[in-house]
């Protein structure tokens, strides 16, 4: 994990894993979770979106539903990008004509934009493939598409 994102919390008793360690950590987490407005909260929601999306991908039988679950996963990642960009801006120097200014890079938002673009392309191609498959086998069930197994 890179240095500037965060430091590992030092374990209380010399690095060993105990139940007390979990309990104190969870207590501290709950204490601040409902009163703060920070990256921790957004991380949690993003992770939840990602895991729900993954669950959807795993269990749904309809291919279009799987595609929608994929969109959920992408949105979870997007939330993380934007929220980290909200609190960790990278200083960049921008020169325009005669002025030079120090600004915070919106790189996270840019990344989110590109993810949205890719999601759009993916949705278009994915739906086209699904429709083509549907036209072939009269089914959008993803379990019916296992012809390339061996």
């Amino acid at each position: 994990m890179p240095e500037h994102i965060g430091l590992l919390l030092l374990l209380q008793d010399g690095g060993s894993l105990t139940a007390g360690h979990f309990v104190s950590l969870f207590g501290a987490f709950l204490r601040t979770f409902f009163t703060e407005f920070g990256p921790r909260q957004f991380f949690t929601v993003g992770a939840l979106l990602f895991c729900i999306g993954w669950y959807g991908v795993l269990v749904r039988r309809n291919a279009i539903a799987v595609l929608m679950a994929t969109e959920l996963m992408l949105n979870g990642v997007n939330v993380l990008f934007v929220s980290f960009n909200r609190w960790w801006g990278v200083k960049i120097t921008r020169a325009a004509f005669t002025s030079v200014e120090q600004v915070l890079s919106p790189v996270g938002q840019i990344f989110a934009i590109f993810i949205i673009i890719v999601a759009a392309a993916e949705a278009a191609v994915g739906l086209a493939i699904i429709i083509a498959i549907y036209r072939q086998i009269r089914s959008a069930n993803i379990e019916d598409v296992s012809g390339m197994k061996w």
Binding site: G6, T35, E36, G38, L49, E71, N85, K91, A132, R138
Partner: protein
Amino acid sequence: MSADTAIILYWWFFTIVVVAGAVGTVALRSLYHSALSLVVCLAGVAGYYVLLNAEFLAAAQVVIYIGAIMVLVISAILVSENVMGRQITLTNRLVWPGIIAAGTLFCIMVYANMRTIYAFDPEGAWLESNVRHIGWSLMATYTLPFEIASLLLFMAMIGAIIISRRDKPDA
């Protein structure tokens, strides 16, 4: 932290919307309803972006996701007609393995979240919303990725047309 109470309330509101929409997306029986639920979820994410001072992204979320992608998904659902009634079994046999695996992953991520100290510099915080920066970055710093993205969309369009086209009637 002495954060503004209103912001925290907004955050709770959007969180409920997002989580409810996401759960509905994967859990609702009707595919059409689950798509509408996904729309709700995406709208909540757009609200998150507003809270995070990313208005441009919020607008893009509404316009692209809800306005384009979801319309496409819903129309695809309507095209493949058997989803409405005929499908009895919604999920496969992986429900419990899926719940366990996804839950474990979530727990691990929450654990990582808990034990991480988010040591951020107040100087580097992105406090104001500035769409101009995004435009500048897209057009100056990230011109090449931007152009490649346009190419990607173009190719996706052609590919979608070619893949979903019917076979030639005369062939």
